[in-house]
């Protein structure tokens, strides 16, 4: 037991990015459930819409968009909350939500870890575009049915509600999702199906927080980073064509590549320069 604990600690020590984002993800879950003595609860509501520090409203722009498409008028508080969230992700990069906030990420990462432990090779290949198809479907269905179509099954808020009210009704669905990622498709849910990820990718298309390879010739093209990346295709231009930065908006800024790279070739930077990418296509350095 102590041995296992030591191993976990040393693993986290050598993976600072993983440690940081797990800490944040867990803190966010706890902020909604823990009452701090003298202070109270830091966050109220859930990931659909919440009130932080008793004053700051945050609203998921995807949920609000569905609501609006379903025919609801937009209310001020919800709109302000959505603007704050959308603005943040538009500036820094949309799928930061996936790696640093979304609680489902912990579930699917665990499934992936288990998949590797058991060396499961079988893989049902699916198009990664499916998530965009599901995104469009969710929006169109909201218009047709007048309800928030994705919220009927959205596992993110489902998981959060189950945790907050210690209920277990949605557990069947969540375990199905886990087994799907574990046994059926590599990175099946977050890498192929989830329309929430697709939505955040879309708003954060020009996100400025980027994995960059600024040190010339540090990369030995070992492709270790690609092997740990949840969206491996985003690193290909960097490794194969010596692009300066990961500009594909699929990048979740999880930092797994930074944790992995033994050459220190990669770093996470706020990339405010213009000119090294045009519409997401990296400009290759010579």
């Amino acid at each position: 037991m102590a041995n296992l604990f030591r191993r976990i600690v040393s693993y986290l020590k050598s993976h600072p990015w993983l440690l940081m984002r797990r800490t944040l993800q867990i803190l966010i879950v706890l902020a909604f459930v823990i009452d701090i003595p003298e202070v109270g609860r830091i966050a109220h509501g859930n990931l659909s819409s919440s009130l932080w520090f008793w004053n700051v409203p945050l609203t998921d722009p995807f949920v609000l968009l569905q609501s609006w498409l379903a025919g609801a008028p937009l209310a001020k508080v919800a709109l302000i909350g959505a603007a704050i969230v959308a603005g943040f992700y538009a500036f820094f990069g949309g799928r930061i939500y996936c790696s640093w906030v979304c609680p489902i990420n912990m579930l699917t990462d665990a499934a992936y870890w288990l998949r590797q432990k058991f060396k499961i090779k079988g893989n049902l290949t699916m198009s990664q575009d499916l998530r965009s198809v599901l995104l469009v479907m969710a929006l169109v269905l909201s218009v047709i049915t007048g309800t928030l179509a994705w919220e009927i099954i959205n596992p993110i808020t489902l998981l959060q509600r189950e945790i907050m009210w210690t209920s277990a009704v949605g557990l069947t669905f969540l375990s199905a999702l886990f087994l799907f990622d574990f046994l059926v498709t590599r990175r099946g849910w977050c890498g192929h199906l989830c329309p929430v990820g697709a939505f955040y990718r879309w708003i954060g298309h020009y996100g400025r927080l980027r994995v960059m390879a600024v040190k010339t010739n540090a990369c030995s093209s070992c492709t270790d980073c690609i092997k740990v990346c949840p969206e491996p295709h985003v690193l290909a231009p960097v490794v194969a064509q010596k692009a300066m930065a990961v500009t594909d908006s699929d990048c979740t800024r999880c930092g797994a590549c930074l944790d992995k790279c033994g050459n220190g070739a990669l770093s996470m930077k706020l990339d405010l320069s213009r000119g090294n990418s045009f519409r997401g296509i990296p400009i290759v350095k010579d």
Binding site: G45, S67, P73, V133, M137
Partner: protein, 234 residues
């Protein structure tokens, strides 16, 4: 035939046919569109076949009419959290209401009709209408004495608990005497215009199943006017 097709289109069509890359891309787009249409039709059928909200599911005060409420409420639970009596709950899959929407069940825990209406204040979307500032104008449903057979007052006793617990007794519900073969009965009578549907009467009905129940207004009340079928003899 071909001369009716504008040149631009025919050039585009030609370039797709002759260019295998483009052909692939077009194929992909069509396949995705196919998946989307198929998926949307199935999902649409599933969504429409969901059972309607059950009659015992009552919405918090100020809730918009059910259809608008379903599209406006974003399932955040801020109202749930701000209710000081913890009567509200967000629907799980086991509850007969759209997933994640807030509700209460009168028999379990009725609305206490807070004068400052914290649930409405907490709602970020207006699904609980901020124009509701007087809790007595709330319309969560309407109390109906559904079972005359078992109501103790109908049996000639003076239980009258439902009347005594009502936060707006005398207005929303009061005792009206009627004379019948059992004698002079004191009948709990609801004024639907005054009743807010808070559910306190249902909660406290002394029988093991309440004889007075709060129902959504469209279920609980008739509407005056004529029904064409009413006089038809087949």
């Amino acid at each position: 035939m071909t001369k009716h097709i504008p040149e631009k289109v025919s050039v585009a069509v030609k370039s797709v046919i002759e260019n295998p890359e483009r052909r692939k891309a077009m194929k992909r787009i069509f396949r995705h569109a196919g998946v989307a249409v198929f998926g949307a039709v199935v999902a649409q059928a599933v969504i429409f076949s969901r059972p309607a909200r059950a009659a015992k599911i009552l919405r918090p005060p100020g809730a918009l009419p059910e259809k608008e409420f379903d599209s406006t409420c974003i399932r955040c639970g801020l109202c749930v959290k701000d209710c000081p009596y913890d009567i509200l709950k967000l629907a799980t899959w086991a509850d007969p209401a759209p997933l994640g929407t807030p509700f209460f069940v009168a028999r379990q825990d009725p609305c206490r009709m807070c004068t400052d209406i914290p649930c409405v204040k907490a709602c970020p979307t207006g699904a609980l209408d901020p124009l509701l500032t007087d809790i007595r104008k709330a319309d969560m449903g309407v109390a109906v004495l559904v079972d005359h057979e078992n109501c103790l007052n109908y049996k000639g006793l003076t239980c009258s608990i439902c009347v005594r617990v009502c936060p707006i007794r005398g207005e929303a519900i009061s005792l009206k005497p009627i004379q019948n073969e059992r004698g002079l009965l004191q009948i709990p009578t609801v004024d639907p215009d005054k009743c807010t549907g808070c559910g306190t009467c249902e909660k406290h009905c002394v029988l093991s199943e309440a004889t007075i129940r709060v129902l959504p207004r469209e279920l609980g009340l008739g509407v005056s006017g004529t029904n064409a079928m009413g006089r038809t003899v087949w």
